[in-house]
């Protein structure tokens, strides 16, 4: 199944979900988010490639729910138009704000879920190989590779710097405020070490001929240009949704 859903189809699906995030109502978007979470457990093509990816996705779902609730509550509290729907501990929540909050939250969650789903179920070698085969210039592939590598190693690097700060007596475990304060102090070593490592990694790849003129093995796919029907179908649905949204917008 993983093989059946190739990267082109996955990218087309991400595109469709992004189109949905900007065109459909928030109820549809929440349903799509729910379907994505179910797909992660049910469809092998969307299964995380490693335990670390699975853990990252689960954590992200928890964070997203917290952020969504916060966005909805803040909007309902501060946009004081429409009818008042509830009063809690002396704070009043309003209908228009609530709807705006729901729209914003659902859009953000759908955009981030679709991207995250793509990356947790696609290994870096597969993605890079695909981009090379599609003829993306080596410079762009290198930049993407270094960025993804940086993001991949970011949690472990932050953890290492936290440990180093802790060893020096910084109160990083004292609470949220202390952790936030400590986070500011780790930013400069984090950025500096990441830049240095990215330069070295880029140099190492250059030293192995990565940026040299594309070789026959790396020439873009020219012989077989078979189009996956699923990919076509997903792009077609996206275009239909965009066209319908424009039509609706022009007729308002």
């Amino acid at each position: 199944m993983r093989a059946n859903l190739d990267l082109s189809s996955k990218l087309a699906l991400v595109f469709l979900l992004w189109v949905c995030a900007f065109t459909l109502s928030w109820t549809f978007q929440f349903v799509l988010c729910l379907l994505l979470v179910i797909a992660r457990f049910v469809l092998p093509a969307f299964r995380p490639i490693s335990q670390r990816s699975a853990a990252a996705f689960s954590k992200f779902i928890l964070y997203s729910i917290s952020v969504a609730v916060l966005v909805v509550c803040l909007n309902a509290l501060f946009i004081k138009s429409g009818s008042m729907i509830a009063t809690l501990l002396g704070f009043s929540f309003y209908e228009d704000g609530l709807l705006f909050g729901l729209r914003t939250a659902s859009r953000l969650i759908l955009l981030s879920f679709s991207i995250l789903m793509f990356f947790i179920s696609t290994s870096l070698p597969v993605l890079i190989g695909y981009l090379q085969n599609k003829g993306l210039p080596p410079y762009l592939v290198l930049m993407l590779l270094l960025t993804l590598h940086f993001l991949d190693h970011l949690p472990s690097r932050i953890h290492q710097i936290f440990l180093a700060q802790q060893a020096r007596g910084a109160p990083v475990d004292a609470g949220v405020f202390s952790r936030t304060k400590a986070l500011l102090s780790i930013l400069s070593p984090l950025v500096l070490s990441s830049i240095v490592e990215s330069i070295e990694r880029g140099t190492a790849l250059e030293l192995r001929g990565f940026l040299s003129k594309p070789s026959p093995e790396r020439q873009p796919e020219q012989v077989e240009t078979r189009v996956n029907p699923l990919t076509v179908c997903l792009y077609f649905i996206s275009i239909v949704i965009i066209a319908y949204s424009i039509y609706r917008w022009l007729n308002i």
């Binding site: 250059e206 030293l207 001929g209 070789s215 093995e217």
Partner: protein, 276 residues
């Protein structure tokens, strides 16, 4: 096929306002021999390797250089403007950054170099496995390159460069991340390259350099303060006590004493072996 390396009056400044990182440096390395460059931090060891690999001009376009570099018949006035791989292959100090992360196995990681260069042979498995066997890592061929130890990763990085058969191999402090066992393995690998590849390595561990090199170069502030064979350096080591750190001194003394002991016992060992 190993190639002769000649450097004539090479000087380098990272920018016109900076002091000289390399100052009128001249050097000849015989084809197939091994030259070790030692010296304190900031002496210009890595700068020299980057000049030879062709990365200096690319990453420091504002650098100012003069002199000549000749690899085999190819002559460069000043610094090369492009990466010289596969003529000269540079293995960086940190083995982990040399793993591309775009291939799933050690075999594919090594093949990746050949793919980049468009040099994939008819039977890549045979070629790559034979190299991995020479480096003692054939059992790791199907392992994930990012799951290896420091020594193993270093050897994979070395394989990823050696697979292109560069006539000149440049190693920037190859022993930094290695324990003594891994250092011994690297020593054997480098010895096996003698005659086939011209090797230039920098190292802060003087005993490693002494045990492997045909020629030693002692650099300080971008200037050569000693050039000769390991035996001569050992006999004159007291002259460089201000340049070499104390641990280098101790390493050299320890190397000297073990070398002397070995020489003293060599007839006995030879006799014992012949009796056997």
């Amino acid at each position: 096929m190993a190639q002769h390396l000649t450097i004539k009056d090479l000087s380098l400044q990272y920018s016109a306002s900076d002091p000289k990182a390399l100052s009128s440096l001249s050097l000849e390395v015989e084809a197939g021999s091994c030259c070790a460059i030692i010296g304190p931090t900031g002496a210009g060891k890595s700068s020299l390797l980057h000049c030879l690999a062709g990365t200096m001009r690319r990453h420091h376009p504002e650098s100012v250089a003069s002199g000549q570099i000749q690899i085999g018949e190819t002559l460069f006035n000043g610094l090369p403007n492009h990466i010289l791989f596969p003529i000269a292959g540079l293995v960086l100090q940190d083995p982990y950054v040399q793993i591309s992360g775009v291939r799933d196995t050690v075999f594919e990681e090594v093949l990746f170099t050949l793919e980049n260069l468009g040099m994939v042979p008819q039977d890549p498995r045979k070629t790559i496995m034979s190299l991995l066997e020479r480096l003692g890592i054939d059992h790791l061929a199907d392992r994930k390159p990012t799951s290896l130890s420091g020594g193993e990763t270093q050897r994979v990085a070395l394989a990823a460069i050696l697979i292109a058969q560069p006539p000149i191999l440049l190693l920037d402090e190859p022993t930094t991340a290695l324990d003594s066992n891994a250092q011994d393995k690297l020593r054997l690998i480098l010895r096996s390259l003698r005659g086939r590849t011209t090797v230039l390595l920098t190292d802060t561990q003087i005993d490693f350099a002494l045990s492997i090199a045909d020629q030693i170069l002692l650099l300080d502030n971008g200037t050569i303060i000693f050039r000769g064979d390991p035996r001569t350096l050992l006999s004159q080591i007291h002259n460089f006590s201000s340049t070499l750190p104390i641990e280098s001194w101790l390493q050299a003394q320890s190397f000297l004493s073990s070398h002397e002991k070995l020489s003293r016992h060599r007839p006995m060992i030879a006799k014992a072996l012949s009796l056997k």
